[in-house]
Symmetry: C2
Subunit: 142 residues, 2 copies
């Protein structure tokens, strides 16, 4: 500290990973895996999970309303815009769908809907990484 | 070349990106985006797309049968094992589902089913990258 001035964030920031969900256990495990890793980065004050597929709980608006953060990023854990992200989510949250980042308000909080994760260039590398992991696994099991 | 010896791969290798599909155009665009980028790496002799959701074409076995490669990697473009990857795919392709890389044969070709892309650690970074892209986009539009 210089002159007793502590750096502090003015606004609490939150992240909601918005998944589809599944009747099998694996989907939730994957969401938790990435959630825990993102918590460790310290980029966000809160990191929560929500579901966009019809009827799955908790929904995005339920989660956002419970969060303390005043600025909340929603990242759809989807490969692309589809029915859930381009139709159901805008209807539930009350914004007009368009491609790209969309800013709106829920419960007086600034909410930023990001583009689906599948569009990210790192997905190319994740695909290749899965191939390398499979080769390693099969080599080690021989 | 040293002494006229050219390096050559003994076996042609192929990759099939196995997606869910969607009635909207975005999903196919995302698959093509990653396919083209992987072709550019030169890691594979063939890179094709297939769909795992019931009734969507082409199916994985249709694509594998048409490919020239003798060693073909299937990477599910799914966040986690679910109904399509853990139930429908094993039934269609004739192997018993288990977690991890699975090796089997189709049409005399060696086929390696890799784990879903969602499990990859790079997905954590892709989520964070989407947040950074949204911040950039909103800043530039102001």
């Amino acid at each position: 500290m210089i002159g007793g001035i502590a750096l502090s964030r003015e606004v609490k920031k939150g992240l909601v990973i918005v998944g589809h969900g599944s009747k099998l256990k694996y989907y939730r495990e994957v969401m938790e895996f990435h959630r825990k890793r993102i918590i460790k980065t310290g980029f966000f004050d809160e990191v929560e999970l929500a579901f966009a597929a019809h009827g799955r709980k908790p929904t995005v608006d339920e989660v956002v309303k419970k969060m303390e953060s005043r600025e909340i990023y929603l990242v759809p854990l989807f490969m692309a815009y589809g029915v859930h992200t381009a139709e159901e989510l805008p209807e539930m949250l009350g914004f007009k769908f368009r491609e790209g980042a969309v800013e709106f308000e829920i419960d007086g909080k600034k909410v930023i809907l990001c583009e689906p994760v599948g569009k990210d260039e790192l997905i190319t590398h994740a695909i290749l990484n899965r191939v390398m992991a499979a080769i390693d696994e099969l080599e080690n099991s021989q």
